[in-house]
Symmetry: C2
Subunit: 332 residues, 2 copies
């Protein structure tokens, strides 16, 4: 990776406050919540669900924002770009980023929709069903990004969810141009199989033209290539020169760069409480290791260790120092 | 693959009658049986265990012999070379090969040790602990192999267990030379992690000099390269130009040819009763598909289907037509 970078990773994503509540399957049925996926909702439904939740916990969230928090927990230097409103949840989001040590200076919106929130219903099997009101996070626009800052990071990291926010694409195009001209890497997380089916054509074009790294779970990569088996998706990537980091839950991950393929087993998890953030923390571990010049196999291993930590408790951000966990297995 | 071959696969292996009995873990402890592996025993201990077994079932066995039976069940044409004595178990072995349609014409030994048997203790978790008396099977020698027959098969297939029989090696050297000069493929199954540790140096030399295809489960390939993780073993094979078919039980298989890597999920098994023969039938399905010009991914898939059938019942050979199963999923 290029030297003399100020940040390890600059990420752009939806700035969301997670509102997490343990529920049973009956709650999902009663409130017509699709299990295990992310559904976009409006402000009215967000208020309804918020009130229906008992024992709710509020915490800074958003996929790339979570990854940046994980990167910081590993000792990496991260920048986050995302939009909140100047309201209670917006202040809460900014405080949560500041607490992790991630740089977050995007200007708050003064009017318009409220700060985004994701109402996450966690069932006893550890699956999470996310109901996301994008609110202010959709308002991210080219004027919110500083090309010099983006170009000062080794990796520019994007979440697929941003495609649901129209102006965000223009901001991303501007950032990619800045990253590319500084010879930085560009990484995309596919985010969700439905997100992939909404934006398949654009994601495939990015894969071909702009991306150096793609993160996807099994459902997402199968959706991208419209194939039925994991191996078909892997073969579809065989001639792609970038790095594919493909997560498979308890089956671990497969990391491929062209014809270099690593099959890495899952790190042992103390318990599975809530899988929210597993993919986000995997990306954090992976990108941290990559920016430290580790082998692709070790990038996958550190990703797995970060994911195993986050699924052992509620919430999408690490509760213990990932740096300590990484040091324990000789991966720093 | 080369055309105009008379056999699809010519296999050489220990000609063994399996004596299978369901036991509990207490039985293993009482009789000092190492769980889940193959242990070599002498004739005295073979008789002892034989008598301790209740509900025993006798059936033709031996790793490569099982694979040839599976190949025949798929509609493939197989030749088996192996040594039995002219005794009751020897006749039983020959009959079991004849019943499958595999050609088996190796001359019976008239004197010397009895026909080999493997006393297989199957615990309720489906694991099998094999206690093998090699007897007459060790007597296989160069004079028992017909070079023209070997050279008439697309693939010459060897089991690693044969390294425990001294004269067998000379027979194998003769067969490899015949296969190579006819431009046929040479395949080796590593057989067992302890077998690998006994013969690691010779197996590695074969990998370098003679083999086109290697079959191994995870423990075997890790033992071969003396590494701790599956991925390290996979990376150790990265520059090898042959085909590695690596089985991982419920994790499916990884098939690699140089830098072409397939990650194939396990076929769904109706139930797991007895894992005896899973590797043998995997090789049968894999080699059948290979001799029919299928892709490496499809070779792995057909191997997985054959393995899923054999673990759903006691015994190491298919109980239903593998050809029908393969046709059902469009893999013929």
């Amino acid at each position: 990776m290029t030297q003399n970078s100020f940040f390890d990773v600059a990420g752009i994503g939806n700035a969301i406050v997670d509102v997490i509540a343990p529920v049973d399957d009956g709650f999902l049925l009663k409130h017509n919540i699709a299990k295990g996926v992310m559904t976009l909702i409006d402000e009215f439904r967000a208020r309804q669900l918020y009130e229906a939740f008992e024992e709710r916990q509020e915490i800074g969230g958003g996929s790339v924002a979570n990854s940046m928090a994980g990167l910081a927990s590993l000792g990496g230097k991260g920048l986050f770009v995302g939009k909140v409103k100047d309201d209670r949840l917006g202040a809460s989001f900014a405080a949560s980023m500041r607490d992790t040590g991630v740089r977050f200076t995007t200007r708050f919106a003064e009017g318009g929709p409220s700060t985004a929130c994701s109402l996450i219903a966690v069932t006893p099997d550890g699956h999470r069903s996310m109901n996301t009101y994008l609110g202010a996070s959709r308002e991210i626009a080219p004027r919110d990004v500083d090309e010099n800052e983006i170009a000062s990071a080794q990796v520019f990291y994007i979440e697929g969810y941003l495609w649901d926010a129209p102006e965000a694409k223009a901001a991303i195009v501007k950032c990619i141009a800045a990253a590319k001209s500084a010879k930085r890497k560009v990484a995309l997380a596919l985010s969700d199989p439905f997100c992939v089916s909404r934006w398949r054509g654009e994601f495939k074009a990015m894969l071909k033209n702009s991306l150096d790294i793609v993160f996807a779970n099994e459902a997402e990569i199968k959706s991208l290539f419209e194939v039925e088996t994991f191996d078909e998706a892997l073969q579809a990537l065989r001639d792609w020169p970038g790095i594919a980091a493909l997560t498979r839950s308890e089956k671990g991950c497969v990391v491929a760069r062209g014809k270099e393929v690593h099959v890495v087993d899952a790190a042992p998890a103390a318990r599975v409480v809530d899988t929210t953030g597993a993919g986000d923390q995997y990306a954090a571990g992976f990108l941290y290791a990559l920016t430290r010049g580790k082998s692709l196999g070790d990038c996958g291993r550190l990703g797995g260790i970060a994911a195993a930590e986050v699924i052992s408790h509620y919430g999408a951000r690490p509760e213990v120092s990932l740096r300590t966990l990484a040091a324990d297995v000789g991966l720093l």
